[in-house]
């Protein structure tokens, strides 16, 4: 019973971070139809921004917004300078569909290289604002700490904020309209190019939060080659696919499902499956429900 509770708690916390990463992948996909493999690199760079702020101000609560703003800025810059030019240059021919995706792979390497040349390859350390030592019930320690509670609350708050932004504001309507039908959005007066940049920025900020919390929930150390960030990209991507790639709710559901399944596999089957389980889940989803859990098969009519 206690083990079951722990498994669920671990799954939900991990899943919440995957959800954020999935959201940032979905946001980019929806605004520009690009699968952004550089998202983890951008999250990593944002986390370094957070680390710098931490060094100067010694406060996680300053570091987090700095990372978010930095992440949003970097994402906007990449979309404006790099992606827009790339799409224009390779808009026809056999490379048109794949060029932006391959380019993000290149971008991932480039960002890591830039980070290494600025901060070096050695581990740096980020400390969370509250302790990661679990709450205790009687003589047992729960796999749920103040830090995990904070992580969960932050992720939930961000998701509520994004939901309100998307569903209740004009900016959200512009973002959705541009994603579903850029042409009708344009004819209605939406500045679609600007909205695309905005979508990337939101993705950058969400990725930054994922990066910051992924780091402090681990041992706090990270470097350009951190396995945590490679995992974050893979998990976020898988969560996004589970959720159908199109919807923010799907991304959240996908993240939680992935987090829980991995947690249960590690606890009840074998902890050696850590690197295998996510990929098996991805393959099963692609075979059984390629449109994702919430996705609808070929929903669009003319």
């Amino acid at each position: 019973m206690f083990q079951l509770l722990n498994t669920i708690l671990i799954g939900i916390t991990a899943g919440a971070i995957y959800s954020l990463m999935a959201i940032s992948i979905v946001l980019v996909w929806r605004s520009t139809r690009v699968i952004n493999f550089a998202q983890a690199g951008m999250a990593l760079l944002s986390t370094y921004f957070g680390y710098e702020a931490m060094v100067h101000f010694n406060s996680f609560w300053i570091a987090l917004p700095v990372a978010m703003v930095g992440g949003a800025g970097i994402a906007a810059l990449i979309e404006l300078v790099f992606m827009r030019l790339l799409v224009k240059r390779s808009s026809t021919g056999p490379m048109a569909a794949v060029a932006p995706i391959i380019a993000t792979l290149g971008l991932l390497g480039l960002i890591k290289g830039i980070i290494s040349s600025i901060w070096g390859g050695a581990d740096v350390r980020l400390v969370g604002p509250v302790t990661n030592v679990g709450y205790s019930i009687g003589d047992k320690t729960l796999a749920f700490s103040p830090l995990k509670l904070l992580t969960l609350c932050t992720v939930v708050a961000l998701m509520l904020l994004l939901t309100v932004l998307f569903q209740k504001s004009n900016i959200g309507l512009s973002l959705r309209a541009s994603a579903y039908s850029p042409e009708i959005a344009r004819l209605s007066g939406v500045k679609v190019d600007f909205v695309r940049t905005l979508g990337w920025s939101l993705a950058g900020a969400a990725g930054a939060v994922a990066g910051m919390f992924q780091t402090v929930n681990g041992n706090g150390a990270f470097s350009p080659e951190s396995i945590e960030f490679a995992l974050l990209l893979i998990s976020g991507f898988i969560a996004a696919v589970i959720g159908g790639l199109e919807s923010l709710v799907g991304a959240v559901v996908g993240g939680l499902v992935l987090g829980l399944v991995i947690s249960f596999v590690l606890m009840y089957i074998s902890s050696s499956l850590f690197f295998i389980a996510p990929f098996v889940i991805l393959l099963i989803i692609l075979f059984v429900r390629p449109q994702g859990i919430l996705g609808v098969k070929a929903a669009r009519r003319a």
Partner: protein, 236 residues
């Protein structure tokens, strides 16, 4: 305030879709642009609203050059385009589709008034405000597309085949609504149609396009009376 198109030429790659087309649409008038499939009607409208690029010629509305502006700029100058095929966003609700049309307008009170008047014109939309647009019938979707365009407070309305794929009774309703809107809102309308008879019946003027060129132009009545137009486009 007229729409003036002069010597307009548009290419799709190597193919010339519109060649040396000139016509004017006076304020408050409804002009039907008719012609067979592939005559260049849709291309013409898409160029006027900034979606396509032209090769040669001019097109001005209200002294504003339409040919070198983006669609999102052109709509701010009072030109609304309802593109082909029930141009609504199926994933959005009816009310969101309507609000999208007014998204650039600063005066939210006026936008709310526009919404009230659209619902007044199309009560069916008012009953379905919170439904997704893809649950609507074809006729309702066309109403929504026109409603969205009206939300942009247009002076010039560009309509691309509003009758496409609709039942004859609905087509008649839509055409009547377009005529009423032109008169009551003082709109200037360019109506592109394959349904030549239906369009000419409600139009003040007509332009017949054939293979990208103006074949005949004149008042709607004169076109309906023209034996050649009757034989080629009206079928009797």
């Amino acid at each position: 305030m007229t729409l003036t198109v002069t010597e307009l030429t548009i290419h799709h790659g190597a193919i010339c879709a519109i060649s040396d087309v000139s016509f004017t649409v006076p304020k408050g008038q409804l002009t039907a642009v008719i012609g067979a499939n592939g005559a260049g009607k849709t291309t013409l409208l898409r160029t006027l609203s900034g979606l396509n690029k032209s090769t040669h010629g001019t097109a001005t509305w209200n002294e504003h050059n339409l040919l070198h502006s983006k669609p999102e700029t052109i709509v701010r100058h009072g030109v609304s385009h309802v593109s082909e095929g029930k141009a609504v966003i199926p994933e959005l609700s009816v009310v969101e589709n309507l609000e999208l049309g007014a998204i650039w307008r600063k005066n939210k009170k006026e936008a709310a008034e526009s919404k009230a008047s659209v619902i007044d014109i199309f009560p069916r939309l008012g009953e379905r405000l919170n439904q997704r647009a893809d649950t609507l019938s074809g006729g309702e979707r066309q109403m929504l597309a026109i409603g969205r365009a009206i939300m942009s407070k247009p002076q010039l309305l560009l309509l691309d085949e509003p009758s496409l794929g609709l039942a004859p009774l609905i087509v008649e309703q839509i055409f009547q609504t377009i005529r009423d809107l032109t008169t009551s809102m003082g709109l200037t309308v360019v109506l592109v149609e394959q349904n030549a008879m239906g369009a000419l019946k409600i139009a003040d003027q007509g332009v017949v396009l054939n293979l990208g060129k103006v074949a005949v132009a004149g008042t709607a009545q004169s076109l309906i009376a023209d034996p050649q137009v009757r034989a080629a486009y009206l079928g009797y």
